[in-house]
Structures are given as C-alpha cells and as structure tokens.
Symmetry: C3
Subunit: 368 residues, 3 copies
C-alpha cells in the first residue's frame, strides 16, 4: 500500500488542505488516540479542545470549526483537511485505507464451489469454497461470494456486491449493485401466507405459494441473520441505499423506501410500506398493511400499530422503565386506569354539584 | 405443464362450476390484474364490484356471493368456481400451479454431499451439494435437502419434507412429514440451561447438558432463521400443523399446540406451553413456565407474563405510540402514576370530609 | 462407558456419601421419573415429599435438607450424595454422563474441509466436512468445528471450543477457550456504522469501515442465530463466563461483563456496556451508549433507555397485558394521561379555592 498525502486525500474528497499538502498520512485514529502520521477528525465542536490537544498530524474539520480555531489563534503549526461534512470525509478516507489494507485479491471460482453450467459468473468474480450457484443465476462484475453461501436458481446479483459466508439467496431474487449481505442473511424465503380453513377442531392453515420475489436496490447493506421474505404475488422491495442491521425481519410484500435505515431486531409485518429517509430504531415493530410517511423516526422498542401520514415525525411507544417494585405499583394502576379515570370524573361531578350544579362533564370527557 | 380446465379444478377442490367447465385456466391473478385465461377469487364481499369489473375468465366465489351476484342479474356471461371457502380454494389451486411450474425434478445424492454410510436416504430424495447427513440419520421418501444444510446424527426427517439451504438439524431431533424448514433454521440447539453457582465475585453458571430433543409434528412450516431448542431432559415439541414465521425463538421444553401460528420475531421462554389453534402476533414474547389456553390470540409486540387459563381470549400489552413529545409527557406521568393516584385519593378524602365526614375511601381503594 | 459409583461421583464433586459408596449409578433422572440405579436431586425443599417418594437409588441433597430428612427419621434405607449446591452437583454429574455417552471421538480434518495452508489446526482438532478455515486462522487444542462452518482469515479459536454447523466467524475475531457457538451464530459481522450525508432528497449514509474485532472470553456459550458484531475501531467484547441465548443481537463496541447471562432475542445497541453478573431477560433491548451497573436484572421485554448506575437493581418496563378490550380502554387513557393529570390539578385548585384559597399546587406538581 502506498501512503497517500494529505493533498491526495483532499483531491479525492473535494476537501481543502490548510497546511502541508505533502504530509504523508499513515492512518486514521480518534482524536485522543492519534499520533504522528495519523489523520483524525472533528465532527462536533464540543470536542474542539480535544482536537487542539490531539497528537494527530492532521485533523478533518468543517469550515466553521476552522474559523473558530483561527479566531482563537490556534490554527497554525498544524495541518487541516477542511471538508463540508468532516464525518463523511472521515468515512470515505477510512474506506480508502480499508480497501488498500484489506482488499481481497482473489478472483475465480474455487474448485469446491458448485456453479450451474448456465449460471453467469464473470471472470472478475470470486466464488469461495462450497458456494452453490444454481441454474440460470446471473452475477455482475466483481461480485464476491464467500464460503458456503447459496445463490438460488435464476437469482441476479449486481456488480461489486459482497456476499459473506453462509448467506442464502432464494430462487429468482434480485440483489442490486454494491450490496453487502452479511453472514446468515436470508433473502427470499417464503412469506408467511396461509388461507385459514375450518378444521374438525379449529382453524387450520393452507399454504399460499409465495411466487413473488425479494428485490434489493443498489447500495443496500443487510446485517447478519436478517431475513427478507419474497412476496406472495408481487415483490418485496428494499429500495436504493437502505441499511438494515442484524436480525431484522422484513415480511412479504413490504416496501422499504430509499435511504431508510432499520436498526437491529426490528420487524416489519406483511404489506407495510415504509417511506424514504426513515430512521427505525432497534427492536421496533410494525403491524401489517400500514403506510409510514417519509422521514419518519421510530424509537427503539416501539410498536407502530397504525399508519403515519405526516412526514418527518418522531414516534415512541415504550413503557418507561423503573425499578421492578415501582413498576409493579404503576402497572397495577395502568391495568385499572379506566377506573382511576372514572374516579376523577366522579370528583368533577361532585365538585360541580357543590359549586353550581352545572353539567359540563360531557365536554371535559371529550377533551381527554 | 398441461393447462387444467375449470371443471378439473372444480373436481380437485370439491367446488362447482357455473359456466363453462371446459374453460382452459392458464394462471391465477388478483381481480384487478387478471386477464383472459386467468382465474381470480373473491373472498370478501366488499370487493364484489372489482369482481364484476375484472377481466378474469373465471372467479372463485362463495355460494352466498354468487347468490348476491345473481340477484343483481350479473352472473351471466362469466364463469364461476363456487367453493365453500374461496380463499382456501384459491390457495389449493395456486399450490397446483406452483407445483407444476416449479417442481424440482432432481433426485439422488449430489456427489458433493457427505452422507454417512449408515444413514437412510431413499432413492426418491434429493440431497444437494455440500449437504452433510451424519451417522444414523433417517430420511423419509421424497425428502429434499438443499445445499449446505446439516442433518445431525440420528435425526429423523419425515416424507415429503423440504429443507432449504443452510438449515441445521441437530442430532436425534425429529421433523415430521410435509414440513418446510427455511434457510437459517436451527432445530435442536442446546436449551439455555445453567445451574447458578456462587463464584468468588458473583453468580457463575454451570452448563446443564441438554439431552432432550426437538420434535416437530407433521405439516409444520418454520420460517427463515427461526430457532427451536432441544429439551433439557424431556423434549421440546411443535405439534402438527403449526406455522412459525421468521426469527422466532422457541426455548427448551416448550410445547406449541397443534395448528398454532406464530408470527415473526416472537419468542417463547422455557417450559411454556402454548395451546392449540392460537394466533401469536409478531415480536410478542412469553415468560417461561406459563400455560396458554387454546385459541388464544396475542397481539404483536405483547409481553405475556402470566398464564392464560380461559380459552379464546385476545390479549394485548403495547404502550400506545404517540409523537415523541407526547410520549415524553405521558411517560413521565406513567412513572409517577402511583403519586397521581394518591392525589386522587386525597381529593376524594377532602371532598368527603367537606360533604359528610364519611370514611369509605378504603372500599374505593379496593375497587381500583 | 464405565458405570461410576456413588463414591466416585462424591470424590469428583467434593460431595459426601451417606449410604453405600459402592452403589453403581447408571443414570440421572428427575425425582418422579427415576428408578433403581438412577441418581436424582433435590434442589428445593418444597419437593422434599417427592424426594422421599422417589424410586431413585440415590438423591443429591444439601446438608440442610438432609438434616430435615433425618429429623423426620427418613434418611435410612436410602443413599444420599450431600453437596453444598445440589443443582450444581447435578449439572456436573450430568456433564460427566453426557461426556461419556456422547463424546465425539473424531479428530482430524475431513477431506472435504478447506483449510488454508498457513492456518494452525492441531491434530487434536476435528474439522468437519465443508468447513472453511481461511489464511492465518489459529485453532487451539481439541477444537471441534462441525460441518459447513466458516472461520475467517486470522481468526483465533481457543482450546476445547465447540463450533456447531453453519457458524460464521469473521476475519481476525477471537473466541476464547471452552466456548460453545451454536448453529447460525455470526461473530464479527460489520457493526452498523454510517456517516449521514445530505443527499439530493434527504439524508444518505456513507459506510464507516468496521476495523475492530469481536472478542469472546473463556467459557462463553452463544445460542443459535445470535449475532455479535465487530467493533468500529476498538473491539466488541464478551467477557469470560457469559451465556448468550438464541437470536441475541450484540452491536458494535458493546462490552458485556463477565458471567452475565442474556436470554433469547435480547438486543444491545452500539457502545453500551453491560456490567458483570447481570441477568438480562428475553426480548429486552438496550439503547446505545449506556452504562449498566454490575448485577443488574432486567425483566423480559423491557426497554432500557438510560444508564443504570446503582448495582444490583431489578428493572422493568412492560405494559401490563390485559384482554384486548380492556387494553383499548386503558391505552386511550394513557394517550391522554397528561390531560387526565391536568384535570386532577384543576380539581385540586378548585377544592383549595373552596376551602382556603391557598396556592400550593406548584409544590404538589413538583412532587409528581
């Protein structure tokens, strides 16, 4: 790996150098761990003192923060990489270092892989040992499929996608370009679709074949052990730029809008549509057949049971945690809340009877 | 594939044709997408206008809905497949088409599979590449095990069961006939059983060997990445006809009664018994050692912390979601609910003192 | 397998025999299922009558329980294994029987495994079919890696660790000695780290390379389909003696303290530190960047949204379940709790105005 200069990194990332453009940047480190040769970053003005105290040879800063530093007369004797969004600039530089350090030079098909005769696997791909690629599957350029993964018949995988070990992509599913699927991901298992029928003792279930697909857009990342079901008739769709964390469950016919992020263990029930640019917290869950507006934020652990039509809102439904003893007391009252409310209504009536005999309880009722 | 006639489909499904029994049915489609040659279905009278407007050549209807259509004088000039339960009839016809279109004709053992010398694998089975079947395992007729799945020593798999890629079935576990296990399913991992012991600084845990099995009945479907643990001494049991969605967790010694459905990400803790014909919502969770009555419905996201003895009930425990700002206000009050209640009690006392000096607060207390 | 005597089991476990030390112990069974030759155990004095009625040839008891039995004059004519902690003694004896009965005598590398030329795999290891061990990985003595598992480049696995089928351990991750990783476990997938950037229509995400590791201490057990992400820059750490159940999610840079147990489907968001000797219930979830004190107990289904500083507490946040009808009534009131509270405040003001015209509402407000 060739050590880049600060000037090269500036050019690559549309940033400006203040200081020495020929400084050799050997690595990246947080402000408090950086040493000579390291590049660090300041993404929050709160950490300005740490930036000034850091031993980093250069620091990525925003124009505004550099102004502040200059105003304090402390910009000299140090190198700055001035970027519109320092955190994004850091991420891109980190990607560059990671690519150089960890690039997997392997290409070709491991002799222990099983690739169907009519599958399309360009020579730029790497297919690891025991990978199975079934009939009619088509891979793009530079796709990497690590050990023991399975690509079903007729599936399509876009250019530059990375599929980790033990992933399963079912037949006919589509994965876009530059996707990353982590180990244990399952794309395209059958949706949970059954027709209830009256059996001799109760309701039994008749399977509805799931003949839709799971379709992932471009630049999607899917975390370990996440499952995205295929659609029943139409497709399940994850649009461009979505990031799904580990253990997420996406049911059949769901659509997740572009650039939405979903944290670990969240679950989206069948046919729900989540908008674009949403942020879904971990362990959140959505009922089926909902519409969730663009730019919605949902807190971790929240259950969304109705559609959300207004874009940009933030919703929460977590019972506040307390010590178990307090919880027991509060929970008992929650169970009897309607009784507590009746007692308040009774008090209001009595007090009104005492003072004026008026009868506005009805209105107050409505307002609650 | 030979195109079936409407009459054939009627015979196969115990339905009646009103119209042309020789109509060739080329495929299935929803009412609004169907065209000539398609069969569609009307399972809800609300969609009656769509059924009448549909371009489908034939529609599956209930006797009652056909009566309605006839009363409107609109039954003529179209073909009807009259079935007791149109949705179930649709599911069965869809299964027929799916079977014809997607039947996997492969049988035999892929040369890259590893099958123990004493394992029983009938010639009607298909064993995919890199499948590992260990000593003493026994497969029924027409079992399909897709790539990279693992069947442990002494496990038993019933006739016509389909095991997708990357499934793991541990030693001695039992899977019934006509099961479907989706990718990432783990059957029979060790239950979470430890004996707590006092260590030098706190409680440490000594593993209790899990020597029971996981036993799945017939016609069970298990979704992607679902885990069903083996029992500690006795078995974990999933009875006939159960349908488990993705990412479900079934702990050791659980019993799930026949024809119960469990949606994605639900979790059942150890030794809990769930009745028959239950409907468990997604992300619901059950404490351990509970008994849940037959035909219980549990809403998504609900925590069940006590046994439910009365059959047929519907239970919920979700904090209602609101905007985050409202939630913050309400949550603060929930944390202090016992104080709010005290204030109501105080008001009641004062009001009583004013009016009569009586002392019935005690009784009211009880009633809440 | 050689049948041990009661005296041998006593010596092995630091217990005392009261009765016949030469009794041959053929197996273990619960009190109500034990027969001649069986050893059973009494860990709770509530079951004393069952212990006396049991057909077991010997019973593990605590010194205190044996005193009780003697006081009742019922200790004679039976054999007792007296142990400080009967349940732990049972667990250890059960481990002994399990080891004798189910020891896997296989060693060596299956010819269908793919082991990199420079990987270290001692002759005492067993490497199953289709296992892939990449460059520079190092295994300790007696490690067993079952079929179709993946060990990434440079990973380290400690002595006596058991890795079940279809496990994935990413590059450079570290697993300690005597670990058990169940099927579907993923160690070291990328953490969920992205830098938000303003795109043309909303926030988009730039991947931050995850270059830390996931590091598991000694005596850790990880349940089926659990995922433990690698750290962003520093490591994700699971300390010695932790037990993680199935489907658990551990995000990047989390640290779980020694001897903490986490039940199924629990999720810990990024950078949260959980103390030592904690007990985390199933389906619980933790927000990111929290500190949880040692010996904390968290109930199942609970959302922890703030740090917990006081050790040894027990916390809960579950909305109490009720019938769905009651829940609907109570949920509506919860949504409007701040209004209900205002009504109580109004009542307090009115009543105060009536009685004294005083103005202490402010103080009462604070106390709630």
């Amino acid at each position: 790996m060739q050590t880049p200069t600060l000037g090269q990194l500036a050019t690559e990332n549309g940033a400006q150098v203040v200081g020495d453009p020929d400084l050799a940047v050997r690595g990246l480190a947080p402000l408090d761990q950086a040493g000579p040769g390291d590049l660090s970053f300041l993404s929050n003005p709160l950490y300005l003192p740490q930036a000034l105290a850091s031993k980093a040879s250069a620091v990525i800063v925003s124009p505004a923060d550099l102004e502040r530093i200059r105003a304090d007369g402390q910009a000299g004797g140090r190198n700055w990489l001035v970027a519109r969004n320092p955190y994004v600039c850091f991420a891109r530089v980190a990607q560059r270092f990671d690519r150089e350090a960890n690039a997997d030079p392997r290409t070709g098909i491991d002799p222990r892989a099983s690739v169907a005769a009519d599958a399309v696997v360009p020579a730029s791909c790497f297919i690891g040992p025991n990978v199975v690629i079934e009939a009619g599957a088509r891979l793009g350029e530079r796709v990497r499929v690590l050990a023991n993964a399975f690509i079903g018949a007729g599936a399509e995988i876009g250019d530059d996608t990375l599929i980790y070990a033990n992933v399963s992509v079912y037949h006919r599913c589509v994965v876009g370009v530059r996707n990353i699927l982590h180990s244990g991901v399952v794309v395209g298992a059958d949706g949970f679709g059954f027709a209830p029928d009256i059996g001799p003792a109760g309701v039994e279930y008749v399977k509805i074949p799931q003949v839709g697909r799971a379709v992932l857009g471009n630049d999607v990342e899917v975390g370990a052990n996440t499952a995205i079901d295929r659609g029943a008739m139409a497709d399940t769709v994850i649009e461009d730029g979505c990031k799904l964390d580990n253990q997420v469950q996406i049911a059949h016919n769901v659509r997740v809008g572009a650039h939405t992020v979903i944290a670990g263990c969240a679950a989206v029930a069948g046919s729900t549509r989540i908008g674009r640019f949403c942020v879904i917290g971990g362990s959140a869950n959505f009922a089926g057949h909902l519409n969730i507006a663009d730019r919605t934020t949902v807190s971790g652990g929240t259950s969304i049971t109705k559609s959300i039509t207004k874009p940009g809102g933030h919703y929460t439904s977590v019972f506040p945690f307390t010590t178990h003893g307090e919880w027991e007391r509060n929970a008992a009252i929650v169970r009897g809340l309607s009784k507590l409310r009746e007692r308040v209504v009774t008090l209001e009536r009595r007090l009104r009877g005492q003072s004026a005999g008026s009868n506005t309880t009805q209105d107050e009722e409505k307002s609650s």
